[in-house]
């Protein structure tokens, strides 16, 4: 009896052995890297990590640390950065971790793409997938490297240094104490990656008819049905040859700019050439989309099919998605928004009059008592000024300091404007945020626009050969580009005397090109980097406008909203503090510590 009981209890013990986590861990979906060779979805998923962290923001971020805008959110990191907290261990623009991490996945793909069984019986198709993923991996490695360089390259004891080049994947036993490569070595390595990618990827994804398949693949037995899966319409939105040519233009203009020119990696002539090469693929200047400067708020995107070609303005874009996040952040508070991005008076003043003259020019006709009248149409399109209307009901927005509504200057901390302006660009005016009838709408995030590359060209061509010389194989000049962009926006449509005035001097033209760039690309996070590569003044305080009615008449007073507290060395970003401490060969940029 007793022994039997003991055995029964022994059996109870055995029952426990069946419990997961007691003696062996309950299964998790743990997979080993070697699985990529037999599981194409696994292999793809590795590279797609590098797509998940593309270096583009759909809403203003770094812009908030420039003279273009301030945030009304007292906890905004870019606000803190601009007002003095930027440091090597407190760096909102740190790219080190996310970019190198993505590069690690690119390297894993580069090393293994040919070993993966992509799962197609057709050899040609298998090869197409190898080429597609290898090509994307090279392009992405170059892209992520380019953004590492922009955020971390700098001047160290007389030398322009880039960042360490990672040409192979790493594991726990790798040597991490790597010195930084020179800026030029980095640029060369990026260009080399772009070129490798170009050799593998088509110029443009899209379905082809029979006979449209490259011989390389037909020799391996592939036909157009195979090609259309690997490189057809369904692949649109991934990196192709045209997008890579835009990357090259972006890299070139950065490397040719004053901040890096002495590194000798690129000249302005190179930059003009790469920009022209890219633009040729988009129809050059004549391909300019006339409503392209308002690409974000157009019926075009509401009717776009997922795999349709992009509008002519767009070189690369994110997915079309229905949302209202941008609007709930940035609509004025009476329309239930948080009024986050507040454009500065500095930016408003940068918009010329409709006649093309800057407001500071005596010929402009600017009336300080009626400052928003007769201005460049882009001002009203991009910025909500006092009295503008917005929203489904065209609600007038009163941003005056004596406004009775929440939209008034500094009325409600955290939702009212701190500058007297609200942002309008990028947002869909059809969105209603009223809690009882909340709506959303499609948004198209433009990662690279033709306008940007045109401005790259104009800048490079002007620097290389002056305003009126066609450079780098393009049939148009810097002057032509600026004229076309201003005309498109409705500035000085019939005649542009101010442009003619500038066209006589490279220096005046430079100022005009830079100003046009500021306006065309505002709120798209270019300004922060442009100021730096130009070695321009970083410390111009952000200004606002205080409007009050005196005797029934609005009076306008500008005031300083926020300092821009940058030191000279801050034209280059820092290497992360923790990494400089850990790795003795990793040198910090001058000035940072």
């Amino acid at each position: 009896m007793k022994l039997k009981n003991i055995f029964l209890l022994g059996a109870a013990t055995v029952a426990f052995t069946a419990c997961d986590d007691m003696f062996t861990p309950a299964l998790e979906n743990n997979q080993d890297i070697s699985q990529m060779y037999n599981d194409a979805d696994f292999a793809r998923g590795l590279l797609y990590n590098a797509y998940l962290v593309l270096p583009y923001d759909g809403s203003p971020s770094t812009e908030l640390a420039t003279d273009n805008a301030v945030s009304n959110d007292i906890d905004n990191n870019y606000k803190k950065m601009a007002t003095g907290s930027w440091a090597a261990n407190n760096n909102p623009i740190n790219q080190w971790d996310v970019r190198y991490h993505a590069i690690q996945y690119c390297n894993i793909m580069i090393e293994n793409a040919a070993k993966v069984s992509w799962g197609y019986s057709n050899e040609g198709m298998n090869q197409m997938y190898i080429d597609n993923f290898l090509g994307n991996a090279y392009a992405l490695r170059g892209l992520h490297m380019m953004y590492l360089l922009r955020a971390h390259a700098g001047f160290v004891g007389g030398e322009y240094l880039g960042v360490p080049i990672h040409s192979s994947s790493e594991d726990g036993s790798s040597d991490f104490n790597l010195p930084r490569n020179t800026f030029k070595e980095c640029v060369d390595s990026i260009m080399s990656d772009f070129n490798k990618a170009l050799a593998l990827l088509p110029e443009e994804y899209g379905d082809v008819a029979e006979g449209g398949v490259p011989a390389k693949y037909t020799k391996m037995g592939a036909d157009n049905s195979h090609y259309n899966r690997a490189f057809g319409n369904v692949q649109r939105g991934k990196i192709d040859g045209r997008i890579i040519s835009a990357f090259k233009a972006q890299l070139a203009i950065m490397a040719a700019s004053p901040a890096y020119a002495e590194a000798g990696a690129m000249t302005y002539a190179d930059a003009a050439k790469y920009a022209a090469e890219c633009l040729t693929k988009f129809g050059g200047l004549s391909g300019l989309q006339q409503d392209g400067w308002k690409w974000y708020d157009s019926d075009l995107i509401d009717n776009m099919g997922a795999t349709d070609k992009n509008p002519a303005e767009i070189i690369w874009r994110g997915n079309l998605e229905k949302s209202n996040g941008l609007e709930s952040d940035n609509y004025p508070p009476t329309l239930f928004g948080k009024g986050r991005v507040n454009p500065t008076q500095n930016l408003v003043d940068a918009f010329p009059m409709a006649n093309g003259y800057p407001i500071t020019d005596a010929k402009s006709g600017y009336d300080p008592k009626n400052p928003y009248a007769g201005r460049d149409p882009r001002l009203a399109a991009y910025i909500l000024v006092n009295g503008s209307t917005i929203g489904v009901d065209d609600t007038p927005i009163n941003t005056q300091a004596d406004s009775e509504t929440l939209d008034g200057l500094n009325r409600e901390n955290g939702s009212s404007t701190t500058t007297g302006y609200y942002m309008r660009k990028l947002m869909r005016s059809t969105i209603n945020l009223n809690p009882s009838s909340n709506t959303d709408a499609y948004h198209l995030q433009a990662r690279i626009r033709v306008t940007e590359i045109l401005l790259d060209y104009a800048e490079a061509a002007n620097e290389a050969q002056g305003p009126k010389v066609a450079v780098g194989g393009a049939p148009y000049t810097a002057y032509d580009v600026i004229k076309a962009l201003r005309k498109r926006a409705g500035v000085a449509v019939s005649a542009d005397p101010y442009l003619e005035e500038c066209a006589s001097s490279k220096d005046k033209m430079r100022e005009l090109i830079r100003n046009e760039r500021r306006l065309e690309l505002c709120f798209e996070n270019h300004r922060f980097w442009d100021l730096r590569r130009w070695k321009a003044n970083l410390t111009e305080s952000a200004k606002g406008i205080n409007i009050t009615n005196v005797g029934g008449v609005p009076t306008y007073k500008t005031f300083d909203v926020e300092a821009r507290d940058y030191k000279d060395y801050m034209i280059y970003g820092p290497i992360p503090y923790s990494e400089v401490l850990k790795w003795s060969n990793l040198l910090q940029n001058d000035g940072w510590r």
């Binding site: 861990p25 907290s85 991490h101 809690p435 990494e579």
Partner: protein, 931 residues
Amino acid sequence: MNKISKHLLSAVLFSVGMPAVAQEVADTTLVNVAFQKVAKEDLMGGVSVVDYRSLMEKNYNTYSMDNMQGYVSGFNGAGMWGFTDQLVLIDGVPREANNVKPVEIEQITFLKGAQAVVLYGSRAAKGAVLITTKRGKVTDGLSVNVRANTGWNIAKAYPEYLSSAEYMSLYNEARANDGKAPLYSQQDIYNYASGRNPFRYPDIDFYSSDYIKKAYNRTDVTAEIEGGNERTKFYSNVSYYRQGDFLNFGQAKNNSIDRFNVRGNVDMQLNDFISAYVNANATYYNSKSANGGSYWSQAASFRPNRVAPLLPMDVFDKNSMQVVNVLAGTKNIIDGKYLLGGTQTDLTNIFGDYYAAGHNTWTSRQFQFDAGLNFDLSSVLKGLSFHTTIAVDYATTYTTAYNDSYATYEPTWADYNGKEVIVGLDSHGTQDKHTGNQEISGSTSNQTIAFNAHFDWARSFGEHSVSAMLVANAFQQTISGQYHKPSNANLALQASYDFGKKYYATAALATPWSAKLAEGHRLGLSPSLTLGWKMHKESFMEGSIFDELTLSASYSSLKSDLDIQDYFMYLATYQSGGWADWNGGTGITCMQSKRGGNEALGFISRNEISASVHAALLNKALTIDASYFNSTMKGLIIEAVNQMPSYFFSYYPESSFRSYLNYNNDNRSGFDVAVNYKKQFGDFGVQFGGNVTYYKTKASKRDDDAYENAYQYRQGKPLDAIWGYECLGFYKDQADVDNSPASKLGTTKPGDLKYKDQNGDGIIDNKDQVELAKGGWYGAPLTLGLNLTLKYKDFSLFALGVGGFGGNAVKNNSYWWVMGENKYSAAVRGRWTPETAATATYPRLTTEAGTNNFQPSDFWLYSTSRFDLAKVQLTYDMPKRILGEGIVKGLQIYVSGSNLLTIAKNRQILEMNVGSAPQSRFYNLGVKVAF
């Protein structure tokens, strides 16, 4: 001693432990320790015990672990010997300490030392608290006890916030400091200050009697029935309690908690050599509350001037069609005369929530069941027995709710002939919605299965007593929403020897198993050895002042996976996460590396030396128990952050190539002393207990590569060090700002806090943080517990004092760190202004984030040292001569007060809860009747 040495040498497997006993526990009392009961006199250090049944005769508690530091040493309220996260076992099964009621408890044992918990395995590596419930006794007929209590909780203190007018004028000052124009006009401020129309110019005081009761009631009643004979004994306990809430309006008025439970157990002698027992407990718990956020957190953040929560209908302009339409459409008319108020920025508020957002009930059900068998196997081998227990617990919770939404209205006021009326109401899109549907959410279901079995063998051969125990124990918990199940599996052998109850030796070897480690690394070896010497039994001690003097010492090395957070931490692995999109492809799954591999990842080891002394003097009226401990947690796991580059980790999608290492060591050392004195002088009896526990901690090994300066190193510093800036006072003026190291922490202006530039690099940033003080995160570094019982005839007076000293904290809650749109507390009255620069106690006000000032620094540091008069109870036991021989065999009446008094330099801070319900004093009246 030679004999002992021999036995030690012959023993292959060993481990450590010695106990100290407190609170009037007799030498022969059996103390519950791991898997067995041991006579108190045979405990050799590392253990403290509370006789809860007799404690409850003079001190009625409402929570099982209430102020236990007042009765035992080594436990400081948070944990034992510098550790927290102790394992709580109720009748040997891991259960919640709040699911056993004080009236149900027989005894609580604190297993402090490593030697005392070795048999339990991994999960008890930071100490264990054994709560043993009452069992039936042999009685003459049934013994019935009924106890009833009713008492009131009265809030100790509320934080003080500024009135609307004062807030508004100081907010204007803050704006001026930031270079902004005033928001409120003098007329506005005057209107709010005048109080003439609180609906137009609200001034909400969250702590006023409009919303808060002075006191709320807690009432309980318990019936205990027990009885039995030599073969069968039973105990049962049925109890109910109900408690209210401070809130006094809307649905929140009905907030309450009800709890009902039945506990019972039966012991049976089945035959000559088999006995069995069954324990069961069922708990029903409902907590009813109004929907909406926490009132107390709103009280700490919602500014007084923002919204009038109620709009009186008698000031509505009945000629306004818009107002008339609103009234016709609304579903929420409060108390027949109010509409709910709101604004576009505060569309809803806590008052509206409590009036109109519905209500919910959180329900918890717990069922617990144990069964055990004991076999006397003397017929197989003399002295051998076998014992086994299996336990199954179920706990479910769910919430039932009626979730309504409601409209609030922003009024437009106008003056008609000197009368202020509401002429417009704007709902800003909010709408009334009554669902009428009961919604069920938050269902959880948890389960525990526990099993243990042990062979015990004990024999005496003349003066040699030998015993051994082979124990297997395991438990596993299934927790809702948690994939992996907390588990514990352990096999252990313990051997004990004593010679004439004079020399003691106990050795144990446990082999905890952990499925969290890689194959081949899952078995740990935990040895423990304890030696004890009852010195008073030596002839040379004859005639000494000591009635008893016992010394013991112990060494253990416990292996534990308690601090290994996850499974598979050793394994390099890829998992899917995140979705990539492009034009034609959406939701394409990505694969990320989750970590780098390290198959060698191993157990964490608690290596501990302890020594104890037990002494009894004055005919045993005075006992002293003292222990010293020095314990190191070795091989705590870190992620290889400094060994690998930062880019081996990425936040989104979370992806990592970093591996985990056994690296950090934490040292804890200290002592505890318990003194107990008990003496009867005629009708007058006195009993006193004093307990002191001291511990200190040290990070004995750390990877400090991330720190540039030696003063930043964590190694060698306390585990609970508070790090922060050394404050040099306020910036005096702009010149002071300009001439001081630049702060990277945020904007600095005169009146902001100025910090010391520790590394002299000319900037203030987080590299300038230094060790400021000890936090006391594992309980106060020095804990004092005093209990005193005075008896005179049928009256007894009990008093309990507890103190905690040496801890510090940072004033970093919203009461102290007032920035931006925060509610302004009374603390800001002492703000810096150019005029008050000399006397200011608070930095200049700002509507910005104030990130320079609101950092941990010694400016905000305060000591949490305190002494509390935790309890006073006066008890009257009605004597037999009055009760007579009727059915009532005993009658006890008592009154008590809890948390009566705090003596502390920072009492006001310590007594003030910000953002949570207030601390309260509790006054109780109770009666106990025995039948």
